[in-house]
């Protein structure tokens, strides 16, 4: 779910870089407010590498398989480090395997990173909302929402960008049908991503709860 070079007009690529600049600045400002930001850097860096590697795990759904994006999970675990982590991960993907692109790096980072920050806030809301739910159900539900919405919103941004930017000759009716069909097609993927995020977060809650302190 990466937009490669050559697809989007330069104005959209530049807007992507501008939003990425603002989101990175905001994330770094929040990180620098922590008591010892330097102490968090190795943790965030190695987890960035681990997330990048873990995104190669496929869920078998015969006869095919589902590729995980994990941007919601990144937000849940890394908090404000999620945006820089996604930016770096996408840079590596463009660099190492030519996945995505350098002109579209800003657009791709916005598409995955902003929903990741949203997923972080959704997961943090478990401390204030849904107190009626008992643990670990509450953590599981909020992790599911973070994972599913993280991917769901990223998929919507991706589809909107692709549909509205490639073929100028496509008529409005066809555009709407394509967006609707592809959006519906992504709902099962968002659910799978949400369930996977919930399972992983519940596992971390038992095995290494400090990883969920964000």
């Amino acid at each position: 779910m990466h937009i490669p070079d050559g697809i989007l007009p330069a104005q959209v690529c530049a807007a992507g870089y501008a939003i990425t600049g603002v989101a990175t600045w905001y994330s770094l400002r929040q990180i620098n407010r922590k008591p010892d930001p330097a102490a968090e850097v190795p943790k965030a860096s190695l987890l960035t590498a681990a997330f990048f590697v873990a995104s190669s795990i496929y869920i078998p759904v015969p006869p095919a398989s589902v590729h995980l994006i994990l941007n919601g999970l990144l937000g849940v675990v890394l908090g404000y480090f999620a945006f820089p982590a996604i930016l770096i991960g996408l840079f590596f993907q463009a660099l190492v395997i030519g996945h995505g692109g350098l002109t579209t790096l800003g657009v791709n980072a916005t598409m995955m990173g902003v929903p990741a920050l949203l997923a972080y806030h959704i997961f943090q809301a478990r401390h204030t909302v849904g107190q009626r739910l008992k643990e670990p159900t509450r953590t599981g539900v909020f992790a599911f929402l973070g994972g599913a919405l993280g991917l769901g919103i990223a998929a919507l941004i991706f589809l909107a960008l692709i549909i509205f930017n490639i073929p100028a000759e496509l008529n409005a009716g066809a555009e709407q049908t394509a967006v609707l069909t592809l959006s519906i097609g992504h709902i099962p993927l968002a659910i799978v991503e949400g369930i996977f995020t919930a399972m992983l977060v519940l596992f971390l809650r038992r095995a290494k709860p400090e990883l969920l302190e964000g």
Binding site: P42, I88, F196
Partner: protein, 264 residues
């Protein structure tokens, strides 16, 4: 990840290799954006020609480009197959239910032309500049220290963690994972749970390693001062060749944008 190598840099003696990393990054970056502005099919051959000229100057082997293009090429293949058959109203050729349309064909030409040219420039940048030099150039151009440190550390441990995952996956397979028959279009809950635990274990191992790394970094003075590693500086003043190359690439970028505005 399996095919990933540590560095995409290929050592050669060329003007592009000798080009100052900062100037190279800025110039090629601007040329990439100029390529992205192209909407006129008439400019595509110019764009491809420029990319090919720079690739020739870099003296990188053609096999490097061919190998790197194979993965993203799959996406472009889908565009080449779908767009000419589905987009547009001017029918060029029709074979039964298959219709080749002019607008779709033009859109395909533009997308493929931009894609190949921009990607070639990206590979020139990465193939002629070692990763650490590239990161140094980014830092000297204003990349925040925290972002540079994170990039460096992630890159340092990326392949180690990938090897760790490969070992864990092999261990799972040896214990019988993936041998069960699954029903079509069904997600097996147990399989998903096992994969979630695999990813979770990878995160925990990386986290524990990061604690050891941080202690080692602290012992070497990390975090004592605001500034981390010093920004590398050019050892000697930039040669005339550097400025000529930068000027030529910038003129080409501006020329393309102006031509695009004129033809639009």
């Amino acid at each position: 990840m399996g095919a990933a190598s540590h560095d995409t840099y290929i050592h050669r003696e060329s003007v592009i290799h000798r080009w100052s990393p900062q100037l190279k990054l800025v110039s090629l970056g601007l040329l990439m954006f100029a390529f992205a502005t192209v909407q006129q099919l008439a400019l595509v051959p110019w764009m491809l020609g420029l990319a090919a000229l720079l690739y020739g100057l870099s003296r990188l082997p053609v096999s490097f480009l061919r190998q790197r293009l194979s993965y993203p090429g799959l996406f472009i293949l889908a565009v080449v197959v779908l767009l000419p058959l589905t987009v547009g109203e001017t029918v060029l050729v029709q074979w039964g239910w298959l219709t080749l349309r002019e607008e779709g064909l033009r859109a395909t030409g533009l997308i493929v032309g931009r894609f190949l040219s921009i990607l070639t420039l990206g590979f020139i940048l990465l193939g002629t500049t070692p990763f650490l030099t590239l990161l140094g150039a980014m830092r000297s151009l204003g990349l925040p220290t925290l972002l540079a440190d994170m990039t460096l550390l992630s890159y340092r441990y990326l392949f180690e963690i990938a090897a760790m995952l490969a070992t864990m996956q092999q261990a799972m397979r040896l214990r019988g994972f993936g041998h069960n028959r699954q029903r079509w279009l069904r997600v097996n809950r147990q399989t998903m749970q096992q994969l979630a635990m695999l990813a979770g274990n990878l995160l925990i191992r990386s986290y524990e390693q990061s604690e050891r790394v941080y202690k080692a970094m602290r012992l070497r003075g990390y975090g004592q001062r605001r500034q981390a590693a010093p920004v590398p500086r050019a050892a000697s003043p930039l040669s005339a060749q550097n400025w000529v190359l930068t000027g030529a690439v910038l003129v080409a970028a501006v020329g393309l944008v102006l031509a695009e505005m004129r033809l639009a």
